[in-house]
Symmetry: D2
Subunit: 342 residues, 4 copies
Amino acid sequence: MIIIMEKGATEEQIEAVIEKLIGLDFNVHRSTGAVHTVLGAVGPSELVDPDEFKVMPGVMECYRVMTPYQRAARAARPEGTRIRLAGEREGEVELGGTRVVLMAGPGSVEGEEQLFRCAELAARGGAKLFRAGGLRAHLSPASLTGPDADSLRLMKRAASTFGMFLVGEVVEADSVGIVEEHADVLLVGSRNMQNYPLLRAAGRARRPVLLKRAPAATLQELLVSADMILDAGNPDVILCERGVRTYGSYTKNTLDVTAIPALHKLSHLPVMADPCRAAGRRDIAPALALAALAAGADGLLLDVHPDPSKVLAEGAQSLEPEQFLELARQLRSLAAALGRSF
Amino acid sequence: MIIIMEKGATEEQIEAVIEKLIGLDFNVHRSTGAVHTVLGAVGPSELVDPDEFKVMPGVMECYRVMTPYQRAARAARPEGTRIRLAGEREGEVELGGTRVVLMAGPGSVEGEEQLFRCAELAARGGAKLFRAGGLRAHLSPASLTGPDADSLRLMKRAASTFGMFLVGEVVEADSVGIVEEHADVLLVGSRNMQNYPLLRAAGRARRPVLLKRAPAATLQELLVSADMILDAGNPDVILCERGVRTYGSYTKNTLDVTAIPALHKLSHLPVMADPCRAAGRRDIAPALALAALAAGADGLLLDVHPDPSKVLAEGAQSLEPEQFLELARQLRSLAAALGRSF
Amino acid sequence: MIIIMEKGATEEQIEAVIEKLIGLDFNVHRSTGAVHTVLGAVGPSELVDPDEFKVMPGVMECYRVMTPYQRAARAARPEGTRIRLAGEREGEVELGGTRVVLMAGPGSVEGEEQLFRCAELAARGGAKLFRAGGLRAHLSPASLTGPDADSLRLMKRAASTFGMFLVGEVVEADSVGIVEEHADVLLVGSRNMQNYPLLRAAGRARRPVLLKRAPAATLQELLVSADMILDAGNPDVILCERGVRTYGSYTKNTLDVTAIPALHKLSHLPVMADPCRAAGRRDIAPALALAALAAGADGLLLDVHPDPSKVLAEGAQSLEPEQFLELARQLRSLAAALGRSF
Amino acid sequence: MIIIMEKGATEEQIEAVIEKLIGLDFNVHRSTGAVHTVLGAVGPSELVDPDEFKVMPGVMECYRVMTPYQRAARAARPEGTRIRLAGEREGEVELGGTRVVLMAGPGSVEGEEQLFRCAELAARGGAKLFRAGGLRAHLSPASLTGPDADSLRLMKRAASTFGMFLVGEVVEADSVGIVEEHADVLLVGSRNMQNYPLLRAAGRARRPVLLKRAPAATLQELLVSADMILDAGNPDVILCERGVRTYGSYTKNTLDVTAIPALHKLSHLPVMADPCRAAGRRDIAPALALAALAAGADGLLLDVHPDPSKVLAEGAQSLEPEQFLELARQLRSLAAALGRSF
């Protein structure tokens, strides 16, 4: 920990800080500059809140040297994490390598026929992962229902019929088990990024976990949540940027493209992006999808629907079939230009 | 729903919007202005996402006339909601009336002695509600443990020994039952503001629920979450502002004092504020507490500790005993000046 | 400057940083922790951008020890700055002392009669400073016109007729001279907080300068702008918080009440608040005015108008006469409760 | 204007709104829904602030139908604006067409030799526009000096020696004339986006104006500022996204890639992006440059320097020579993949 004393801090104030640090088992090094005295403290930083020192008289700033996440940090695996999925019908997919991985599917499930048409469409666009949301809860949250075995089985069948792996959302610690039984990847949505019981349950699962960033989470908070999953024993976490909340109102959220190269520097985990949910409108989403790929995303999530304008809710963010297939072509050509495959 | 067409929108584009509205069972009123055509649509607005129209060609803007929350809206109870607690040793407390209610307690529980000293201190400052956090999870999230019957019993004893009601945090739907058994008020923390299974469970409980706003939640999102609790049958929800995330970095969060009068206009539910958690530092928190009261808060949450500078984590936001008692005096005098009691 | 190397930084990377620091005339102290190597560097920090080190390989973080502002810092005048105005008809006013100073006036000038009615109203409410905006520029910016001698003379007459000092806005370096001739205080609006030529011109003026924070400025940026005025020779700068831009939409901006105690800690300059412009709506502004005073503001700016609902633009944020006088009463009683006068 | 009355608004309240609208020369259409009464009002919307209605009793929401900018709106020129520059040595450049235009140069000028080396480097990377900043003001704002004829002449010579046009920053209305004499494009920096006297002066100039978005400006505010330039007679405005202020701290600002497609929809003006200033660090800027191009930017601004790590200030955001040339190659290949040239 590094503590910078204010200009004009008294000797007494400095001593009080040193004493407190020593009482907390830190070794303290003091360096007296022309203007500021700076204290470097080595000790149990992970247990001490730097804010505790900020409120002491005479203290100007206090920084913790250690990041609050360890396992998710780049230094823990400098070469990067690659996550492999393999299946008989699905073949092999690797997340975190040179291939860009496409995940696609409908925002919500309306029925079996729609589900299979969505899956066929997703596969035609090159998706390797299929994601079918539940009936989502924005407009009428009470109607949100957790996953049941029947619908999971159906989704799995839709996915594997077209050679894709299934991604299933988990919203409660209790239901991780049933989702894990049918889905190949577990998705923790942005509303649950700090649902600690759920993160721990996902950490005990044997499936890779796609962890979506909450709309106001810092990169550090996202990585602390990832750490919790890693810490519980699951080494396969995929980070996903899906838009941050800003003062802008043209789109639902503001896709934080900067997070993609930043997370690659801070962490060894693969990074995906969700341009459809970030934009909330299908006329803007394709530009964001191309941007996220250009910025270095390892994969993309896209909402697709055979006829999104007929959907009552969550349709605005879903791509139309032609639009999706055209975007897939552009993504392929962009990936090639960047020396990656798709 | 109101749809404003772009300047220069073609007749075809207008017709397409009208047709879609009619297909969704809306009655449409068209008014053609000098520059813009405006469509007013009456129908099942709660089922339709206005964004779906924003992406149609020729559409400039689309507004939903109805708020997505109903039960929490001021119109549902124009006179305001008052929540009463009564106990043998605790007497009576009313939230939402002219008296300002103080809730206080330690950020985390370190042991029985500390707990009782905190409770005594809280009561001396005039607190009617006692809140004792668990060991919180910022620095080392894995150490967060759920509530167990023993510690709840202990907390309840500490609270009632000094004539206060107990507030207990719930973090999982499963554990609402056990908390409800011992605590008088259930607290849903800001990280769980959109944990829908938990909200529904709290809605089925027979205790008032204190619902904390997430640091990037809009007022509307907070009220949608409150609606979900009300909708499940629990009429007693207390809203709590605890700081929003901005670009500022001097304090942990930025207390959104504006939210207090705004929530009073939008909703009939009582509104509390949590200045300690918002500031994250005890040198700034008292000014925010006074500000929140002046802005019309029905109650305040304060973190207190007999010796906060000795605490390893979460201490920086806890008030010192003298500071707390002095603040309580100022709050009392401020309340009187505003024609309220304390 | 303090530079923290990443876990796993190589000796070469550390050496490169040290070499660069030495080349920039820093003295470097190296301390090697169990996990991180930390370099403390004493030297010409004010000339060096810490970001330059952040991009070097192996560097995790870099902090500058010095604040980028000096003269505005609390340490430069620990006892605080008090700004005195004295006039024959106006009496004496002191900003930064125990008295709360009220500044009031119309958002825009519509004519001589309205101006005098506004001034009378302001004075009845206890205002010591009168502020009359020009015709403001939000809705039709082209109509903004600079100050001319005639209207300044008129405003001055309105102010002094009712025993108040005049506050006049400056928008161009060139027109500082003419405003200074008639007004007692110069106002630099939030849109000009970083208009450097204007700040320098205000710094050469012999009148106190009220400097409004831009809606997305950090406290540090505000203080750097204040420094520029102080540096040009003008010792009398008043800081003014007027709302920051957040994702909230119920009010025009979000009044950052936290900034008031924070600026008092960081700086010796008086701090005012502008709740009307922050809220943009007169039904919310009074609660914010009370909150700002409770948080420790040295003064308040209020927009008043004899009949604001008749105003085409900028009327929504102006208080109605009765509302203003009632608020003034509440502010007086609040100030007394806090041990201050008004 | 559209006004939505609250559920439960009284007939009196509705009448008061109608009366006020009629008094302001609006024609009012009333439609009474099951829950809400909605008033559509056609009239002088551009003169009336919708907030004035929001504060009336019984009003829930009020929307203005017209955008506050007209000339910059897409509808004013649906085919899009193309801005052409032509010179003997520089050839022809078109902004807003299929070719991606590169603008490059040093963040600050250190001397003649550095200037020419930067220009040579910029030209090698394919830049058609050369931009040389003054000594910038972040760290020591007092040192910012306006442009003088000598340095402008020098910059112009550097630009044209290598076949590029010169971009010169204007910071005061008074100095627009001299910059215009030597530079081919005028740049209005983000700190001056709402410096109205400067915008009007730029609007009277005969050179295209590159208008940078302020770090907290909405798209609407940017377009209002553009309107002011267009309105003063200058038809050639180029919009530039350069990062918005968010709670993120890894980079200086957060590049708002979404703004690029959004501005293309809202406006006919060309849109550039400034990834170096947004990121503030050269290790992240290239990923953002690629993302901005993929999102549809008409051009890019890049900071380059022959040896940025030697620069005391503003160096961290400048690309190193090899990095710049490599990025130029990637941009070229990306542009080709997207069916554009470079």
